[in-house]
Symmetry: C2
Subunit: 157 residues, 2 copies
């Protein structure tokens, strides 16, 4: 990344790198890791939060531990591509908690959804109860993930 283009210096980058790995670091420890006084560090973090570089802090829950062992990618084609069809679909998708991601894809009017389910049977239920009934759906194709080889929330800085 060329960090100067987005208004950061190398210490800001370092702060983001560290907090992306451990969002609960105390300011005291963070400041040590980036070689800054605690107060200077604290002010930088506040600025990064205020300016939206840090969108928030979250706890990551292990999906397998709570029984969500299955990830499915669903490709959906809509029957039309008017703004109403698209935004009606998007509003409806946003209400399904099992859908973690929804992307409008280039090329055709296709959406790619990332869905988490307990198992294949549970996905069938989600499919029936939530996906099949989405407004404007023309085709719908599901691909199951067998194994998550890599999964990170940390962006390269």
């Amino acid at each position: 990344m060329n960090y100067q283009e987005v208004g950061l210096d190398s210490i800001d980058c370092r702060i983001l790198e560290v907090l992306q790995k451990d969002g609960r670091l105390s300011n005291a420890e963070l400041s040590e890791r980036v070689n800054l006084s605690a107060s200077a560090c604290h002010r930088r973090v506040q600025r990064l939060e205020k300016d939206g570089f840090i969108a928030g802090y979250v706890a990551l829950v292990d999906p397998r531990k709570i029984g969500r062992k299955t990830t499915v990618f669903v490709e959906i084609t809509l029957s039309g591509q008017s703004d109403e069809v698209l935004s009606g679909f998007e509003r409806a998708v946003a209400l399904i908690p099992d859908v973690l991601e929804c992307h409008l894809m280039a090329g055709s009017a296709d959406y790619l959804l990332k869905v988490v389910a307990e198992d294949a049977e549970d996905f069938a239920r989600i499919h029936r109860r939530h996906l099949a009934g989405l407004p404007g759906v023309q085709t719908l194709q599901s691909s199951f993930s067998l194994k998550q080889v890599r999964q990170t929330t940390a962006l390269p800085i």
Copy 2:
């Protein structure tokens, strides 16, 4: 979710729900939100961490703010599906920081990668420098996301 099956009670679930939205809540405030004394709450959180329900805490960095405006899903077919080919591929993929996710997909020996880039040109660079040279790659198809309709790290509990 049927939380009892995974060894949680309704308060544990509530804690996970809350921490998935705000991972930096103080124990004092968390305990208020879940109607528990601070110490009881604190012990539950520690248990959830120790038992791996909480995999960690992270700061979420806004990809657009740091210039990563483009998400691309890449579908890769390997030339073989022996364990060596697969694990060689997986080891190599894990070293590319631009690849946020890599899934082994059911059906064929296909992988689905989620890649973040600054723009299409930057993706072309990543493609050339990192993806094309991955061991065992047979075919490689890229789909660009035009718009992130929904993006959450919070699992439904």
